[in-house]
Amino acid sequence: MSDYRETQNLIHPDKTNILMATIVVILIVIVTLQLWIMYGALNSSEDSNQVFVWAAFGASLLLFIAGLWLLKYLPDTKAKEVKDPDNPYV
């Protein structure tokens, strides 16, 4: 059996942290871009520029799908320790 994963975890103990922070930053960038696109769409709809408005909707939807896809790479949570296994309310 390969011990690649164990060795990698030993070398990079903060791997999960970096992965999580990267996903959060990318999602913040996505939301910022979507806000900018929405502002442009509002202005263009007032200007009766239909082509831009629909293109903006497509772009916003694509960004949302990209964000959803990113959730796939969210690291799993660690199992919580239960102090008293006989009493779940502790």
């Binding site: 959060v24 999602l27 939301v31 929405m38 769409a41 909707f57 969210l74 779940p88 309310y89």
Partner: protein, 168 residues
Amino acid sequence: MSQDNNNKTPVWKSDFPIKQDESTLISRRKFTKLLCLLSGGLALGTGAIAIKSVACPRARIGGEYFVCEASELPVGGMKSSIIINDKTETPYILIHLAEDKWRCFAQKCTHLSCSVLYRPDMKKIMCPCHEGAFDPETGEVLQGPPPRPLPQISVIVREGKVYLTDKA
């Protein structure tokens, strides 16, 4: 199996924890999901804007709308009024820029819908709210926060009478 269930924190407890530090803690996983939810909301909002722009296009005057006699408005003068249509009311300003040169624009500033006014001394259409300025010839933005030009309305002068109509 029952042992596994006993080890799990009940759902009600994770949603409404007793300890204060647990209730105020928002994990990065939760924050990420919240960002994704916000992203979906923004995509839906942009879609709603697109649908609204198709379903409710800008109101049109429809035909010619009589305003006043051409002699009533001297050169450099401005007249503001409202075009009352079946569905909408459109406030506008009619400007007599020069002899045989008339311009008409919607009176709502494209920034926050304040009423704009023509200033003949500055040769600009000014918005008093945030000092936005528009070109009286074309309606283009000259200064300030307005994001787009003033919508223009066509002016027809026939037999000494001024009419307004939709811009082609």
